[in-house]
Amino acid sequence: MSTQTAPTANGRYVPNLTQPPPNDPLPRALGWASLGLGIPQVASPGGFARAIGVRDDPEARGWTLLVGARELMGAAGILELGQPRPTGWLWARVAGDAMDLGLLLAALRSKPRHRNRLLGATGAVLAITAADVAAAMRMSSHPELHAEPGPLRARAAITVRRPKEEVYRFWRDFENLPSFMEHLDSVEDRGGGVSRWAARAPGGRTVEWDAELVDEHPYDHLSWRSREGSSVENSGSVWFVTAPGGRGTEIHLDLQYDLPGGALGVLIAGLAGEEPRQQVREDLRRAKQILETGMVVRSEGSPDGPMARRRVRQRPAQPLVGSAS
C-alpha cells in the first residue's frame, strides 16, 4: 500500500484519490422510465392492461398492479436509494423484464383479441431489456462500482482535535483498534510488527488472522496487511496529516479486503447492512470520540454509539432495560 503514497512538496503524506464513479445518464433514464410506467399501472391497472392489448379482467389487473408497484420500487431504487451506484437495482430491473416477458408470452398464448398490441408491447419490453442489461453490465464492470466479490475498498477521513503524535500513538497500538472498529473483536500484539486479529462473523463464529506491519513512517503513516495464507486477506493504510491553522489532525483511512472465498465480504455485508464506506466512516467517528472525549458516545436509541448497522435498527429513545452494552 505504501506505493500509493508519495510525500507532496510540503512533505505531507496524502493518499492518492481514485477515480470518481462515472456519470452515466442511462440508469437515470431507466429510473424515470420505471416511474413513467409504474404510475399508470398503479393508478389505472385496467386501462393499462387494455392499452397493451391484454384482457381487462381481475387477474390481469392484479398482475398489472403488481408490476406497477415493482416499477415504482425500481424507480425509487435507481433514482434515490441506490444512488450513486444503483447496480443492484439495475439487475433487479433485468429480473423484472424477464417476469414481464413471461407474462406477455402467457398472454400471447391465450389467443388474445389485440394480438398486434401485445406484440408491440412485447417488442418494447425486449428493447427495454436490452437497455437494462447494457446499463447493469456497464455499472458492474466499473472497478469503483464493483462491490463484490473481489477486492472491496473503503476509505474515509475525519479531523480530530488532538496532536498528530498522540493520534499516531493511539493507532500504532493496534490493540486499540477494536475499541472503534465495529467488526473487530480483538487484536493481540505478538511483537515484531505481527499481530493476531479476530473479527466476529455471522452465526457467532469468529474469524482470525495474522497481520503484519508493512510500512511505518512515525507520526505520518502506517500500513498493514494480513499474512500470506490468511483466511481473510485484507490490508489497511492510514495517514495522519496535521490540519492547517491548528485544526488538529486529519486521519485518512483506506481499507481493502480481497476475498476469493468471499468470507469477509459476507461478514462485512452482514455487519454493516450497507456499504462498507459508511462503516469505515462510523469507525472513524468512534475513534474521534475516544480521542477527543475519552469514550464512545451512547444514546438510548443508539446504545452502542455510532454504528452503521444501528442506523436501520434504532431502539426507541427510552432508557434501556437491563445493563448497558
Binding site: E300, G301, S302, P306, M307, P316, A317, L320
Partner: protein, 406 residues
C-alpha cells in the same frame, strides 16, 4: 418511571418506562422538578421531523436535582440543582472549543442520518428525533444527561424553578436571535412570532440596546403579552399589511434587523397562499411553510440582518434570494449554543433585569402532558407556555391560567 412519549402524529402518551441508567462515565441522572413543552416539540408532534420512533421520550427544556453521577463527572454532586441545556455537547471538539455547542462534533451517535439530509451533522438534542441522536428527553420523572461535566449549570441560590427553567432553551434562543442582529444605537428590530421565543427575542433586543422592537403575530393575547410584558410595539398581520406597516413605522427604511421566531409551520393570512405551501408541505414537496421568513427577508432594510431562530427542517420553496443578494442582506442563524449563554443570562436573572417566568401560562402535572400539547398546538385558553411538574401531581392536577409569573 413516567415519561411523555411520542406515539405517532398528533399523539403523545404518558407511559411507564424503565428508569434511566448511567451509560457513560460522564453521565449524570437528574430527577426532574420542572420541564416545559417547547414550540419546536410541536414540529415533532405534528409529524414534520423525520426519524421519530414510537415510544421516544420527548422534552428538551428541563431542570432538576442530580441523583447519580458517573465516575468522571467531577464538578457535579448528588443533590446539586441544575438546569440542563437542550443541545448535548462534549466540550472537547473544535466546534465546542469555538463556542458552537449546538454543532458539537461528537454528541450525535446518529450523525450519519443527519449527514444524509443536511450534509454535516449538528449536535445531539434531548428528545428530538433519532437523526439528532435518539436521546431520551426530559418530559419525564428522570433523565440521563450525557457530558454532565459540560452542559448543566448549577443553581445555587433560591431562585424558583420557573425563573431559571428557560435557561435550558427559549431564553438563550431568543437572546441569541437578538445578539445575531448586531444591534446598534437607534436600531429598530422586528420580530415575527410572539410565542415564548419571540417574547424573549423582544426582551433581549431591548437588553442589547434596540431603540424600538416590533412584534408580529395574529393572536391578541400574545400581542398583548409582547406589549405589556416585553415592551414591544405590535402588528396583527391579519388586520394590517405587515410590509406597509413596517415601512411606515420606520420612515420607509424597513427594520434594521428582522428575527424569525416562527419557523417551519408558519401561517399566512391569505388563504390560498397558506393552502399552497400547506399542500406542498403535506405532500413533502417542501418541508417548510416559510411565510414568516419570506416576509422578514422582504421587509428588512437594505444591508440589514435577518436572524433565524425558528426551526426549519429541510427544503423551502420560493426563497427570495434575489432580494437577499441585491440588497446586501445578511442571514444569521443556528440552533442556540445554549452553553455559551448560561452564566451571563443567569446573572441577568439574578440582577432582576428579567424574570423569564412571565411567559408561562399553564402549569400541569406530567400526566397532563397530552392535554398540554393539544392546548399549546391549538392555542386554546390563551396558552403561551406549558410547564410540567413531574412530582407535583396533586398541586397541579388542574390547569391554572395566569397572566404572568407565579
Amino acid at each position: 418511571m413516567k415519561a411523555n412519549c411520542w406515539t405517532g402524529r398528533n399523539t403523545v402518551e404518558v407511559q411507564n418506562v424503565p428508569d434511566p441508567k448511567i451509560l457513560n462515565a460522564r453521565d449524570a441522572i437528574v430527577r426532574i422538578t420542572s420541564s416545559a413543552i417547547c414550540g419546536s416539540d410541536l414540529h415533532l408532534y405534528d409529524g414534520y421531523v423525520p426519524t421519530m420512533k414510537r415510544g421516544d421520550i420527548l422534552g428538551h427544556e428541563f431542570m432538576g436535582e442530580v441523583v447519580e453521577t458517573g465516575p468522571e463527572v467531577g464538578d457535579l454532586a448528588v443533590g446539586d440543582r441544575v438546569v440542563v441545556p437542550f443541545p448535548i455537547a462534549c466540550g472537547a471538539c473544535a466546534a465546542c472549543e469555538n463556542g458552537l455547542f449546538s454543532v458539537c462534533e461528537n454528541s450525535n451517535p446518529n450523525a450519519a442520518m443527519a449527514e444524509k439530509l443536511w450534509g454535516h451533522s449538528p449536535s445531539g438534542i434531548f428528545g428530538y428525533s433519532h437523526m439528532l441522536g435518539g436521546y431520551a428527553g426530559g418530559q419525564a420523572e428522570y433523565a440521563r444527561v450525557p457530558f454532565a461535566d459540560v452542559g448543566p449549570i448549577k443553581i445555587e441560590d433560591d431562585l424558583p424553578d420557573e425563573s431559571v427553567l428557560f435557561l435550558s432553551d427559549i431564553f438563550p434562543t431568543g437572546y441569541m436571535g437578538a445578539e445575531m442582529c448586531d444591534i446598534k444605537p437607534g436600531d429598530v428590530i422586528a420580530v415575527w412570532g410572539a410565542g415564548p421565543v419571540g417574547l424573549f427575542a423582544v426582551a433581549s433586543a431591548y437588553m442589547l440596546g434596540a431603540e424600538r422592537v416590533i412584534a408580529i403575530d395574529r393572536f391578541d393575547y400574545r400581542l398583548k403579552k409582547a406589549r405589556e410584558q416585553a415592551g414591544a410595539e405590535t402588528i396583527d398581520y391579519e388586520k394590517v399589511n405587515v410590509l406597509e406597516a413596517l415601512a411606515e413605522m420606520t420612515g420607509g427604511r424597513g427594520p434594521d434587523a428582522c428575527i424569525d421566531a416562527v419557523g417551519m409551520e408558519a401561517h399566512h393570512h391569505v388563504g390560498p397562499i397558506h393552502a399552497y405551501d400547506r399542500a406542498k408541505q403535506a405532500t413533502r414537496m417542501e418541508t417548510e411553510r416559510p411565510h414568516a421568513l419570506r416576509e422578514a427577508l422582504i421587509a428588512c432594510k437594505n444591508g440589514g440582518t435577518v436572524s433565524i431562530i425558528g426551526v426549519y427542517g429541510g427544503l423551502m420553496d420560493k426563497f427570495p434570494i434575489g432580494s437577499v443578494m441585491n440588497r446586501s442582506l445578511t442571514i444569521r442563524t443556528g440552533q442556540c449554543h445554549v452553553q455559551r449563554y448560561l452564566k451571563p443570562l443567569l446573572k441577568r436573572i439574578r440582577k432582576g433585569e428579567i424574570d423569564p417566568s412571565f411567559v408561562i401560562s399553564h402549569r400541569m402535572s406530567l400526566d397532563d402532558a397530552p392535554r398540554g400539547y393539544d392546548m399549546f398546538k391549538h392555542k386554546r385558553d390563551d396558552c403561551t407556555k406549558v410547564v410540567l411538574k413531574p412530582f407535583s401531581s396533586a398541586a397541579y392536577g388542574t390547569p391554572r391560567p395566569s397572566g404572568g409569573g407565579a
